[in-house]
């Protein structure tokens, strides 16, 4: 006879169920089982009172699709639920989600501490574009945890980084860096595009704002641009006087204090009310719907992405044409142990490797693979390859490339979910082509 006491556990829906259902109630949408595409710019008001109530944030609802849209709203709730966040705001792309996050947080004269290993476009946003708005940044290498602390200034308003850096696969010690941020009274913002909430939920490791390019693994199909910012709800904006635009009366909404009124959803409310109103990088309902189709199979796809990636890592490590392989699953990867902790469900499907023969071999490889697609995207269900130094990061000068940990022999591989042997066979064709020019020149 068991003497175990029966305990009750919450029956809230789990990840796979939320991926299919969160944010949507069919009975409120004519019983439509699928999320409807609300292809409309604007919404009828019941009367003048109703209109005023919506504009005054007295009640929830939609006014104009730049600010919110019911289809987009389902996507926002779904991602918030999967991340364990309180609220989310979808945008037209991942870049606009980053921009909107920064502009919601910062004013001219503010400063950010930023990981140096980022997507090239993000580097340029922080390095060149934000200074035009009076927002300056200090870059720190992702593994230099103490460096993040040292870089914080009086006017620093947050720390930003990609959890696993693009494209070198260097991992930020998120729990430690979150502690540094919180000790300084500032939030940690993490771009977790590479992980999706299936591999890592950054809020459980101290992040305050999570950003995704939904274009990538979340959608998976490579058909639609989309981004999102998700709020964790724990950060106390009122703990210091660093965030007056969150805590002081806001002229744009009858003296509203977002932090006092909306607490754990204050950042998202401000990003929508101010950022979407004034900048307008809204997501189209069609693209939101497309992304929702992808999210329905997120966990199924991510498992295959990760298992294929681990197979490809073994294959590349054993290959005579490969100089080096960077993936957190490789035991001698400097962040191997940290990855086990932060990415327990899989280490992701981004691999960086160096091809013997340098830039010329890299070009030959990429020009000759047939199944793998040569393009400027990651996280498609199809296998993708690119040579970052001549592609995604080509707008960076030599010194910046070096600081970002990039080399001319590096090939970035986003492993798809095709049959693993077909991917390997395709790579053999690429490697053979990469060897040929060298053989010729040796003769």
């Amino acid at each position: 006879m068991s003497d175990k006491k029966k305990t009750t556990n919450p029956n809230t829906y789990k990840f796979d169920t939320l991926s299919l259902h969160a944010g949507y109630q069919p009975h409120k949408n004519a019983g439509s089982r699928q999320v409807p595409i609300y292809q409309t710019t604007s919404y009828l008001f019941d009367d003048v009172d109703h209109a005023a109530a919506l504009f005054n944030l007295e009640r929830g609802g939609h006014i104009y699709s730049r600010i919110s849209n019911p289809t987009v709203g389902v996507l926002e709730e779904r991602v918030a639920s999967l991340e364990g966040g309180t609220a989310a705001l979808a945008t037209s792309s991942g870049m606009s989600a980053i921009f909107l996050t920064v502009m919601t947080l910062c004013e001219a004269g503010d400063h950010l501490v930023v990981s140096s290993q980022l997507y090239g476009g993000t580097v340029n946003l922080f390095r060149l574009t934000l200074p035009k708005f009076g927002i300056k940044c200090t870059f720190v290498k992702p593994r230099d945890t103490e460096g993040f602390k040292k870089a914080i200034q009086k006017n620093t308003k947050g720390i930003f980084g990609e959890l696993v850096g693009n494209p070198g696969n260097e991992i930020m010690n998120m729990p430690e860096i979150a502690k540094i941020a919180h000790d300084a009274g500032i939030p940690l913002m993490v771009d977790a595009t590479y992980q999706t909430p299936y591999l890592c939920k950054p809020f459980e490791h101290g992040a305050d704002i999570v950003i995704h390019s939904l274009t990538k693994w979340m959608a998976g199909h490579g058909s639609s641009m989309a981004g999102i910012l998700v709020e964790g709800g724990k950060f106390d904006w009122m703990q210091n006087d660093k965030f007056p635009t969150m805590t002081k009366p806001y002229e744009g909404y009858h003296g509203l204090s977002f932090a006092e009124e909306f607490g754990p959803t204050a950042f998202t409310m401000k990003a929508r009310a101010e950022g979407m109103r004034d900048f307008g990088p809204c997501l189209s309902p069609q693209n939101a719907w497309n992304v929702l189709q992808g999210i329905e199979t997120l966990s199924v796809r991510m498992k295959k992405h990760c298992s294929n990636a681990e197979e490809m890592v073994k294959y590349l490590l054993d290959h005579k044409s490969v100089a080096w392989v960077s993936h957190p699953s490789v035991p001698d990867h400097p962040d191997h142990e940290l990855a086990k902790k932060l990415l327990p469900n899989g280490r992701g499907s981004m691999i960086a490797f160096g091809i013997k023969g340098g830039k010329d071999a890299g070009v030959a490889f990429i020009n000759n693979v047939k199944l793998a697609s040569h393009l400027a995207n990651v996280g498609d269900t199809r296998t993708l390859v690119i040579h970052p130094a001549s592609g995604t990061h080509s707008q960076m000068d030599e010194a910046t490339l070096k600081f970002a940990g990039l080399s001319h022999d590096m090939i970035r591989l986003s492993v798809g979910i095709e049959d693993i042997n077909d991917i390997k066979n395709d790579f053999e064709i690429g490697f053979r082509a990469a060897i040929k020019p060298r053989l010729v020149s040796n003769q």
Partner: protein, 272 residues
């Protein structure tokens, strides 16, 4: 806004409008372990339509100072002290869940101070599940997770927040975790469990009273809400279908519509 009651700082949302002592006052009283933020989709309407609103953070909760009050009776006296502190002679009360016990007790104790009473997800008694009570008193976050599970109806578990982009189970959970669980939820649950005077207090109430109940409310089921309403003379009952205990978020618009009609009829404001 912030003010003092019993020498402790009190925070109350005024619904996004300045507090105006000339306007009739509505006080919103939150449920166990929660804060003023649960009322955001009701308070702002009244604040923009001729009323002064105080959505309170109870002592030790949200942005208020002090320690959580240990009994429903103490909370009822504290609400009366709030009315005095803001220099009003009378107010309308709106309560949710534990807030219903508090407002019933307050109305029975200070009948001249309270003009209307609106109860959401209320019952005459809220005996606590022993396991939930123990978890909360032992500061276990599972108490919040269980509360959020039971407090939302089947539809609410899918989300569908009236404010685009907000996911209410996680938002509610974060509110309940905003202070130390044992000091807020633990103390509140014990106060609810100990309170036995709800039905007697209800019999004394002679003011216009509205009970908003929800068909899928597991924490204060419809039959318990009706039992309470039957004891209040002339009490009105409105039942919201396909909705759980967190009706003020799950079905914010429907709740506001009923509340608006009741308050503007029974406690009209001459202000616009």
């Amino acid at each position: 806004m912030k003010f003092k009651v019993n020498n402790e700082e009190v925070y109350a949302s005024t619904g996004g409008r300045p507090f105006d002592k000339n306007k009739p006052l509505i006080i919103f009283v939150h449920g166990s372990g929660l804060t003023h933020m649960t009322w955001v989709l009701q308070t702002r309407y009244f604040a923009f339509h001729g009323y002064s609103v105080l959505a309170l953070d109870m002592p030790g909760h949200g942005l208020s100072g002090g320690k959580s009050l240990k009994s429903i009776e103490d909370m009822a006296d504290w609400i009366k002290a709030v009315i005095d502190a803001v220099d009003y002679k009378e107010a309308s009360l709106v309560g949710h869940s534990q807030g219903c016990l508090v407002t019933i007790e307050c109305t029975s104790r200070y009948p001249d101070k309270i003009k209307t009473l609106s109860l959401m997800g209320g019952a005459g008694a809220i005996p606590m599940n022993p396991e939930l009570l123990s978890l909360a008193e032992n500061n276990d976050p599972k108490a919040v997770d269980l509360m959020m599970d039971w407090a939302h109806g089947p539809a609410g578990h899918f989300g569908g927040h009236p404010v685009p982009g907000l996911y209410h189970i996680n938002t509610g959970g974060m509110l309940a975790k905003s202070r130390t669980i044992k000091d807020t939820l633990g103390v509140d649950f014990r106060a609810c469990d100990n309170y036995k005077n709800g039905f007697e207090a209800a019999k004394k109430i002679k003011i216009p009273t509205l009970s908003i109940l929800a068909t899928d409310d597991k924490m204060c089921p419809v039959k318990e809400g009706k039992k309470l309403a039957d004891l209040i003379e002339g009490s009105k009952v409105d039942i919201i279908d396909n909705c759980g205990h967190m009706m003020l978020l799950e079905e914010a618009d429907r709740v506001l519509k009923v509340l608006k009609k009741f308050i503007t009829t029974n406690y009209p404001s001459k202000f616009k």
